[in-house]
Symmetry: C2
Subunit: 315 residues, 2 copies
């Protein structure tokens, strides 16, 4: 397949890097200010070298990548809330041209699911978005394979930064502010960590799962989610929990009735108590009990793997 990548962050770069290994070629790539297009397939190393040296991927304007001939648009621009732009327009423009779209960007699926699905129905193209939930964890395709009507709830640990902080607080008996600073030094937390520690990122992932579980009967956005972050979890709460064989994790839950995210007490050695930056998704199924999937929930190659699995499912 010919892939056009929009967004040259960690995920876009990794898709560019790994596409050939998966049997695809990247024929166009765009960052916010430039683009490179080659219908014979771009050289990943040359594109990345230019991006690193000159701050741009090529000498064309982004519009040329969007208008180029490709089979699948890879939407890997940063997640934005509300109107979810410019990701939303990238997706709908590709669908209008009867092209497939694979998203790593959560915004359009979490904030404008109904519109995206309507655009898909009017198109010969298809959308897929495994990479928006849990990085390498196949959450969305598992819901699809079981059938959304056979899953009553999805819950889990869906933000590696928050989980790293809670894990360290529990292990070292340290306070939130101290561990956050450490996480920022390690590059696990961003300079502005609010998206992760306030629960927004986990909530978006749960909103996406709620939309898939609902099968279009009800549409959810971030505004429908009850969200509480981890900023107010005192170190003493983790010590007290530990004395009782329990710990605290930021747990998100999605059902057909809504989305809730917040710090919860869970068994210290239980399935949900994944450590560090790992994620876990737990499904309650109608006929097969509980299914757990854990793995790396973020990272360039990990998320690119989910993107490229989606591309494989389009074939």
């Amino acid at each position: 397949m010919k892939l056009a990548i929009v967004g040259v962050g960690a995920v876009g770069r990794s898709v560019l890097d790994l596409a050939r290994e998966y049997g695809h070629s990247v024929t166009a790539i765009a960052d916010s200010e430039s683009a490179a297009v080659d219908s014979a397939g771009l050289d990943p190393e040359r594109v990345i070298a230019r991006k690193d040296d000159e701050g741009r991927v090529g000498s064309r304007v982004p519009e040329e990548a969007l208008k180029s001939e490709y089979d699948v648009l890879i939407e890997a621009t940063p997640t934005t809330l509300g109107d979810a732009e410019p990701g939303f327009s990238h997706v709908t423009r590709a669908l209008e041209r009867d092209r497939h779209v694979v998203l790593a960007n959560k915004g359009p699926i979490a904030e404008r699911y109904g519109e995206i699905r309507r655009a898909e129905r009017a198109s010969a193209g298809e959308i897929r978005f495994e990479a928006t939930v849990g990085g390498a964890i196949p959450a969305i395709s598992t819901i699809e394979d079981f059938g959304p009507e056979h899953i009553t709830a999805a819950r889990g640990v869906l933000n590696g930064t928050a989980n790293f902080i809670l894990t360290r607080m529990a292990a070292e008996g340290l306070d939130y502010d101290h561990v956050l600073a450490e996480a920022q030094d390690l590059g696990v937390a961003e300079a502005n960590p609010s998206f992760d520690v306030q629960g927004t990122d986990a909530a978006l992932k749960c909103v996406i799962m709620a939309n898939v579980l609902s099968g279009g009967e009800r549409e959810f956005t971030l505004a429908d989610a009850e969200v509480e972050g981890i900023e107010d979890v005192p170190g003493s709460a983790l010590s007290l929990a530990s004395e009782d064989g329990r710990t605290v994790r930021l747990i998100g839950e999605a059902t057909r009735d809504g989305v809730r995210v917040g710090p919860r007490l869970i068994p210290e050695n239980g399935t949900l108590a994944v450590s560090g930056t790992r994620n876990i998704v737990q499904f309650e199924t109608t006929h097969a009990g509980r299914l757990n999937i854990s793995g790396r929930g973020a990272g360039g190659p990990e998320t690119a793997t989910a993107v490229l699995s989606d591309v494989g499912r389009l074939e």
Copy 2:
């Protein structure tokens, strides 16, 4: 889709019971001595009532079910080794008629994988066998979605009976023979438990994963597997392991180089230490680290769920 089910054990019955909920109809079903066929769709309750009352599902001979008009043959007869008959012939005959086949029976995939794949290539039908590994756990489809070439190893706890026995031995400090008798009373272990406790069942599942990981480059059968069971694990080994924060599990491992199954020391609170009859499959991936999937590895409805997910993937 119109389903023809061969085999009326726990899995066959559950597929019959759940098919309608998944949008399919069962138009034929056969046990070893009888069959029922109705192109308009069989009534599951009536079939099961007759089987329970008279020991047969209908008044026809099994051959009529195999020759009937269906879209997908569900092969749910008991796993047999060596020539894997009669399952093998059921599969190849369906493929010769250009029909799809979904297997819950491990025999044909573990013992005659190359022949089955060759028969599939000559057919317009397709084979799927998610239910042969780990019950409700989507092991095979995860390998397919990642691409076999992107997974270097699959390992895990793949036999619920053996795991139940080891879990109880560790928790209660009891010996193998005592716990086996208890498991037999509970119906967790069969009267002849050798298939489970000697590691054969786990090995077959690993052989199947090795065949999928190899993508046909090398073919494995049970004869290629190094297998050791749990019968010789003394209760004292579990006590000693526990003092060191570890426990024993029957771990199977599949790579492109071979299959090994045996009791292994693992961390007591580690990911692989699932309890009771639960199963877990752990994949080592090339670009996305380690992925774990745990859930119910056996049971009628659980395995039927995997069968019906496979049917869904054929559409």
